[in-house]
Assembly symmetry: C2
Homo-oligomer: 640 residues x 2
C-alpha cells in the first residue's frame, strides 16, 4: 500500500509567500483593450487619463439668463438694473453652454419680468456666478483612475465623461479546475437516474468556480478524472499546456493510497509545499509546472474552500496586480470556550449576532465535510497555531462573510430545536430580520439568556409536579432575569421508528427490550426531560435502555440515526419523522415556547418575530407540517 | 415661458414610502427556473429544500480500515487485538462508503501491520468513530436556503450536494433608462468626430446601468430623446408597454422651460412625488403609469446617482423581495466644519483615512456636476434636514463606498498640490497603499498636522529671509509636533499663459497691466507666498493686480482658468501648463517637500511612501513630466 508522506507542514502565510515567490510572470495573463461599457468589475492594466475636460465648455449651472457679469454691477433692491433679452441677456437652461461673451447666469427665480423682452434684477453678479467652467471637474490629461484598480459604475461614467471609450484591463486569469476521485459523479447524472451508494456528487468545482468568478477570474471545468496516476498526470500536463493560467486539482492531495496529485505534480514540475499547518485545509499542495502554478486542493468541501481562499485567491489577486483583499472584520465575544490544537491555524465557522450592544460569536460544528458549516456561517474565526483555543467571553476578531448590517438585523435564538424555526426564518426575511438559531436544548437556552448571548430562548421544559411548562425552570435557573413567555406551538412527541416499525415499538416498556437500540437527546433537552419523566412515572430504569447514553442534538439528527440504522427508535416530533418518511408512534403532546427577557421586548427584531408568530400565514404553514397545534400560538403565558 | 412648479418637497424617506406603497405587484417580475450553476448572485423565489441527504451513505472520514466497532472492544497497549483484512477489516479511503456490516474506521496511523493480511490495534473504537453518517450535514427535506435570499458560491455547492440542480429565482427586474436632453450625444460619436461645443456626452445611463446590474437587475438602454414633450411622453408610454418593469427618465425632472418629464408622466399616469428634500437629488419625480413605476431622475450626474440610490435601488430590492440593503457605516471624525442647509437632507461625498486610531472624514466639493466627487469618495455622510451642518471634530457615521480594509490602508496627505501626487498614488497601489490627497495649500497642510487629521503634509513654504524652505513655518505653526522633512522634488514655477502668450506676459511687472487679468492661488498656498515674495522684492503693489483676489486651489485649476479665458495668466508649475498644452514663462525654481510627524514615521504606509519616493522608477516618471528636478529626491532635510 503506497502512501505519500507530507513533505512538511508549513504555516499558511509562509507557504503562500513561498508559492508567490516562485511564480513566473511569464505565465501571467496579459492585458486586453475593452469597451468602458464592459469595464465595471475589471482591473485596469494602466492608469487612465482624461482625453476631454469636463465640462468641456462653460456651462450654465442654473436655469435662467446668461449675462456679462459687468452689466449687473451695482444692482440693488433700491436700484434695479433693467436687462433686455437678446441684447443683454440670453435664456439658458442648466447644462447648456454659455453664449459667447457671457460669463454669469442669473437664476430665473431672481428675474422680475417687465414685459416679454425685458426684466429687472435687484442683485449684481460676480463673474462666473452659476457657471460650471471648462475643466471644473477634471481637465484633459488628468489621471481618472490608477492602474491595478477595479472599475466601479461611477468610474465607468467618469471615463465616458472624460472621452475615454475603451481601456486596457488585465485579462481574466483562467483557473482550470480538475476534479479527481473515482467516487465522484457529475451532478448531471441525477437527470438520468438516482445516485447509487458510494457515489458522491462533485460540487466543489461549483463553489470554487463561483469564488473565482466573483473575484474577477474565469473558471474552466475539466471532466472528472478517476483516481488513476497516469490520468491525473495527463490532465495536469494538458492543463498546463492549455491557455489556463492556473491549474487546480481537487483532490487527491492527502496521503491516502489513492492520492496521486503530489506525485503527478512532482513528476511534471516542482512541489513547493505539501501540507499546511491549517485546519481544515491541511492536505494542500502548492507546485509549479513550467511557468504555471498548480494547486492540489483538499477534497472535503470546507477544506477545499478554505484552502482555496488562503492560496488560490491571493494568487488570483497577484495575477490581476491587485493588492491583497482582506475581508472586513468585526470584534465579537465568543459565546463559549473553544479548544484548538496547538501547531495549526484553525479556521472556525461562526454564527454572529448582536445582542444588546455586543456582537456574540458562536462556533458552528467543525466537520470539514459539512458544507452547511460554511453556508450557515456569518464569519470565520482564525485561531493562531500558537494558541490552545479561546476562553468563553473572550474578545476575538471575526472575518465577516456577510455585511455588518445583516449581522445587526440578526435575531439570535438559542435553545430547543423545532422544525417550525425554518418557517420562522423564512417569514422573518420578508421583514428584514435574519434568524440565527443554535440548538442546545431548552436548558442550554435558558443558560444562554443568563450569559446574555441570545435575544430569546426556545424551551419546552415540563415541571412534572405541576404540569406547567418552563416557568419553574425559569425561576430556578434565571431568577434574576425578568422574562415574558410567548407560546409557540403545541406539538406531538413520540417514537420515531423505521418505516413499518419493524421492531414494533409501541410504548416506553419496549425501549428496554434487548433487541431495541435507542438514540437519546442530550441532557437538558426538553425531549429528554419528557422521556425521563415518563420512565420515572412508569418505574422503568433508564440504565437498561441500550443507547440511552448516545446523544443527538436535534429532532432531525434523531430521525437520521433511525433512518440510517444507527438506532431502532428515538424520541422526537412528528414533523421530523415525516420529513424523512419514517413512522411515528405518538406518546405525548407538549408545549414549545419562546422565553424573552424583558430587556429585549422592545427590540424591533423581537417585535417582528412576535408579529410573525401571531400571523395567520405562519400558523397555516406550521399546521401543514402535521403534528402541531396552533390554537394559542403567539399568546403570552403569564407566570403561574 | 412654461415652467413647472414642484408639487412639494417631501423628505426622502417619506417620498420613498409613498412610492413603494403605490406599487402594484402586477408589474413585478415573476420567477423563473434556472440551473444552480447560474444561480450565484440570484435571489430565490421560494425556500429550497434538500432532495438528498448529505452524506447520502455512511462515509469513511479517515483513510484506514472499516471494522465492526465491537470487534475492537477491549484493545489496549498491553492487549492488542489482531484483525484480519478481508475478514474483520476492509481498507477504505476518506469519502468512500463503509462496507456493509461495518460501523467504524481505524485510522491508518493506528494500525501495526503483522503481515500483508493482518494487523494489530492497541485502542478500541466506539461505534461510528471516524464515520460521517448519512444525513450528518443535512437530511432530505431540510431547508437549505430560504426564499428572498441571494445565492452565494458556497450555497450553490450545498444545493448540488442536496441533489438540487435547478431552483426558482426571481426574474431580474428590467430597468429601462431613457436619456433625454437636446444637448446630449452618445459617447459613440467620439469614434466619428470630436465633440462640438454645447454637446454633452451621455454617461449617466452607464453609471445607473452598472448600479442596477451589480444589484441584481437588468438594465436596458433607450436611445437619447431630445427635449420634446411628445417624444418624451411617447418613449415613456412605449417603455411602460414593453417588458421593462421600471422606466427611468433621465432627466428633464427639474422646473426648467424644457423639463417635460413630470408633465409627461402626469398625462400618462400619476405623479406621486415631484421634488424631494435632498441635496443633491432635489428634482426627483416618482410616478406610476399603469402598473409600472416611472422615475424622473435629475440630470446632474451626482444627483442622478444619489437620487437613484435612494429611490431606484429600494425599488429594485422590493421587486426582488429582498430586504433593504444598507451600506456598512463607519464612525469618523470630521476634519473641518461643514455647513448644511436646514430643511433638506444633504448627501456629502467624503474622503476617509485612518490617522493614528481615528478615522478622519473630509468632505469633497459639493458640485453635483462633478462626477469625480463620487469616484474619489470613500463614503457618504448624510446630514439630516434638521441639522445646520456639523462642527469640526464632531463624530459622524459615514456610509462606506469602499471596504474598511481599504480605508485602513489609505495614506492621508493634506497640503500643497503637485502633479507628482498622481504618480505617487499609482506607485503606492502596487504596495497595497491607497493615497488620499487633499489640496489645501502648504500652510493648510501644516495646520492639518496640528489637528492630527493627516499622516503628512506637502509643503513648499519659502522663508524669504533665509531662503530655507518649510522649517521656519514648521517652527512657527507646529512647534509642538516633532517632524522629519523628506525632500520631494525641485520644480519650476512660472506664469501659465495661453498658447502663444497673446498678452506677452514676461515678468511680474506685467501682472499690473490694465489689460491683464490674473488668477491667484489661495492664501496659505506656497505658490502665493512665492508670488508675494517677488512682488515685495520688486516693490510692486498687489492691489493693482486685476484678479489678485480670485483664488483657485490647485495648479491645474489655475491652468484651467487660463485655458478657458477666465484669466490671462496665473502662477503654477510647468507640468500643469504642459498637461493643458498652455505656454509657460519660468520665474523661479522651488522646493516641494513632505513634512512627516515623528509619530507616523514607523507607520507602514509612510515607510512605503518613502520607499516609492526614493525609487528610480518614481524619479524617472517625475522627470518625464518636465520642469522637475529629482537629484535629491527622497533625502532627509535636517532642521537648519
Amino acid at each position: 500500500m503506497r502512501r505519500n508522506i507530507y513533505l512538511d507542514m508549513k504555516p499558511p502565510e509562509e507557504a503562500l509567500a513561498l508559492f508567490l515567490q516562485h511564480l513566473s510572470r511569464k505565465g501571467f495573463p496579459g492585458s486586453e483593450n475593452i469597451s468602458v461599457l464592459d469595464a465595471v468589475g475589471r482591473t485596469t492594466a494602466l492608469p487612465v487619463h482624461a482625453i476631454l475636460s469636463s465640462p468641456h465648455f462653460h456651462t450654465a449651472a442654473m436655469d435662467g439668463f446668461a449675462v456679462m457679469a459687468e452689466s449687473t454691477f451695482g444692482a440693488g433692491p433700491d436700484r434695479p438694473i433693467t436687462l433686455r433679452i437678446g441684447r443683454d441677456a440670453w435664456p439658458v437652461n442648466t447644462g447648456r453652454p454659455l453664449p459667447t461673451g457671457t460669463d454669469a447666469v442669473i437664476m430665473i427665480e431672481n428675474v422680475n419680468f417687465v414685459d416679454d423682452e425685458t426684466f429687472e434684477i435687484e442683485q449684481g453678479l460676480v463673474p462666473w456666478r452659476h457657471v460650471r467652467r471648462v475643466g471644473e471637474d477634471f481637465v484633459a490629461s488628468e489621471m481618472i483612475i490608477p492602474s491595478r484598480h477595479v472599475v466601479t459604475p461611477y468610474e465607468a461614467g467618469a471615463l465616458i465623461a472624460a472621452g475615454v471609450l475603451s481601456i486596457e484591463v488585465v485579462r481574466k486569469p483562467k483557473f482550470l479546475f480538475i476534479p479527481t476521485g473515482s467516487e465522484l459523479v457529475s451532478p448531471e447524472v441525477l437527470r438520468e437516474r438516482p445516485l447509487e451508494p458510494g457515489e458522491t456528487l462533485e460540487f466543489n468545482t461549483v463553489i470554487l468556480s463561483g469564488i473565482v468568478a466573483q473575484a474577477g477570474g474565469e473558471p474552466v471545468h475539466h471532466t472528472i478524472i478517476p483516481d488513476e496516476f497516469e490520468d491525473i498526470k495527463d490532465a495536469i500536463r494538458k492543463g498546463v499546456e492549455s491557455d489556463a493560467h492556473v491549474v487546480v486539482v481537487n483532490a487527491g492531495s492527502s496521503a491516502g493510497s489513492e492520492d496521486y496529485t503530489a506525485a503527478a505534480i512532482g513528476e511534471l514540475g516542482e512541489v513547493l509545499v505539501h501540507g499546511v499547518a491549517m485546519m481544515p485545509g491541511k492536505p494542500t499542495i502548492l507546485g509549479i509546472v513550467g511557468d504555471k502554478p498548480v494547486i492540489g486542493n483538499p477534497g472535503y468541501p470546507v477544506s477545499a474552500v478554505l484552502s482555496f481562499e488562503v492560496f488560490g485567491l491571493p494568487l488570483l489577486g497577484e495575477m490581476l496586480g491587485r493588492p491583497r483583499q482582506r475581508r472586513p472584520t468585526i470584534n465579537a465575544m465568543v459565546a463559549r470556550k473553544i479548544p484548538s490544537k496547538l501547531g495549526q491555524e484553525e479556521f472556525l465557522r461562526m454564527k454572529l449576532g448582536k445582542v444588546g450592544d455586543r456582537v456574540i460569536a458562536a462556533p458552528l460544528p467543525r466537520g470539514a465535510g459539512s458544507i452547511t458549516t460554511l453556508t450557515r456561517a456569518d464569519g470565520i474565526l482564525r485561531i493562531p497555531s500558537s494558541q490552545e483555543g479561546v476562553d468563553q467571553s473572550s474578545l476575538v476578531q471575526v472575518e465577516l462573510l456577510r455585511n455588518i448590517a445583516e449581522i445587526e438585523h440578526t435575531l439570535v435564538i438559542i435553545g430547543s430545536h423545532d422544525l417550525t424555526l425554518d418557517i420562522l426564518a423564512d417569514e422573518l426575511i420578508e421583514r428584514n430580520v435574519f434568524l440565527s438559531s443554535s440548538n442546545v436544548g431548552s436548558l442550554g437556552g435558558l443558560l444562554a439568556l443568563k450569559n446574555r448571548t441570545s435575544h430569546m430562548a426556545t424551551s419546552h421544559l415540563l415541571d412534572t409536579e405541576t404540569g406547567v411548562y418552563n416557568w419553574s425552570y425559569i425561576r430556578r435557573y434565571i431568577p434574576d432575569i425578568p422574562v415574558k413567555v410567548i407560546h409557540g406551538v403545541r406539538r406531538e412527541q413520540g417514537f420515531i421508528v423505521p418505516k413499518g416499525n419493524p421492531k414494533s415499538v409501541k410504548d416506553f416498556h419496549d425501549l428496554l427490550r434487548g433487541d431495541v437500540t435507542f438514540i437519546n437527546r442530550q441532557a437538558g433537552a426538553g425531549t429528554r426531560v419528557l422521556l425521563d419523566y415518563h420512565l420515572q412515572r412508569l418505574g422503568l430504569d433508564a440504565a437498561e435502555i441500550k443507547g440511552y447514553d448516545t446523544e443527538e442534538y436535534t429532532h432531525t439528527s434523531v430521525a437520521v440515526a433511525v433512518l440510517s440504522g444507527v438506532a431502532d427508535v428515538g424520541m422526537g416530533v412528528l414533523a421530523a419523522a415525516r420529513a424523512l418518511d419514517l413512522d411515528f408512534v405518538p406518546v405525548a403532546v407538549e408545549q414549545y415556547d419562546f422565553v424573552i427577557p424583558m430587556e429585549h421586548m422592545e427590540d424591533e427584531k423581537v417585535l417582528k418575530l412576535i408579529d410573525v408568530v401571531r400571523s395567520d400565514r405562519f400558523k397555516k404553514r406550521v399546521n401543514d407540517l402535521g403534528g402541531y397545534g396552533v390554537e394559542k400560538t403567539g399568546e403570552e403565558i403569564p407566570a403561574p
